[in-house]
Symmetry: C2
Subunit: 131 residues, 2 copies
């Protein structure tokens, strides 16, 4: 379920007009219903809070826009990373399948050969996950 402007306004503690304005200048995005009503998703609440913080820190909405664009870019990077990780996972599971077809001796030597790499990969993944 998405939020109508009034609901979002209440939840984010700003006026409708502010949301209207932000939407017009591209700080917020909204889907439009067939009757042209705007529908915001819940992430807009946090986005509005973030904007308020930035404003409180003395930034102009234009500055905030840049910040948000950076953040969005990071978000996209994250998505990217996620995709890459998914790809890696697939590769790894493929390797696992290969391993299952090996005999014990081959298996052990192979495991040794890649143990370093997999370890450091796991460590990096842990860094990403923690916090």
């Amino acid at each position: 379920m998405k939020l109508k402007i009034g609901e979002l306004a209440e939840k984010a503690n700003v006026t409708r007009r502010t949301i209207d304005y932000y939407t017009n200048i591209g700080l917020l995005q909204a889907e439009r219903s067939p009757s042209n009503y705007r529908y915001y998703d819940y992430s807009a609440i946090e986005r509005l809070n973030f904007i308020e913080e930035c404003k409180h820190a003395g930034l102009s909405l234009d500055d905030v826009k840049k910040k948000l664009n950076e953040r969005d870019a990071e978000e996209i990077d994250v998505l990217d990373l996620r995709l890459k990780i998914k790809g890696l996972e697939k590769e790894v599971s493929n390797v696992v399948v290969q391993l299952e077809n090996k005999n014990n001796i081959e298996l052990k030597s192979l495991r040794k050969k890649i143990s370093n790499e997999s370890l450091s990969l796991i460590q990096t993944l842990l860094l990403l996950i923690k916090d």
Copy 2:
């Protein structure tokens, strides 16, 4: 001499904000000084009056914009016509020069040959000039 926003506002009997707004949405044009002040020329007064009339007649500013665009297009047409007339004048004066090099008999027959055309041209020009 051009008008600053306050001067135009007073002369046209609207607020500065209105002029600001109209300028932003492209209803009015302004030159900018090096310090970014807007400078309007006197025709803006009449333009503003026109806009007020249109609004009074129930038109939206968007409608007014269209009307003004038409008017501006006509203006351009007029400029075009003026140019053409200037061109014609040149042609005519060339003909006059030619005539001056003719003898009387040739001259008379020539005059007869073109009298119809020049008469109707003159009449059309008169139509353009009057009121």
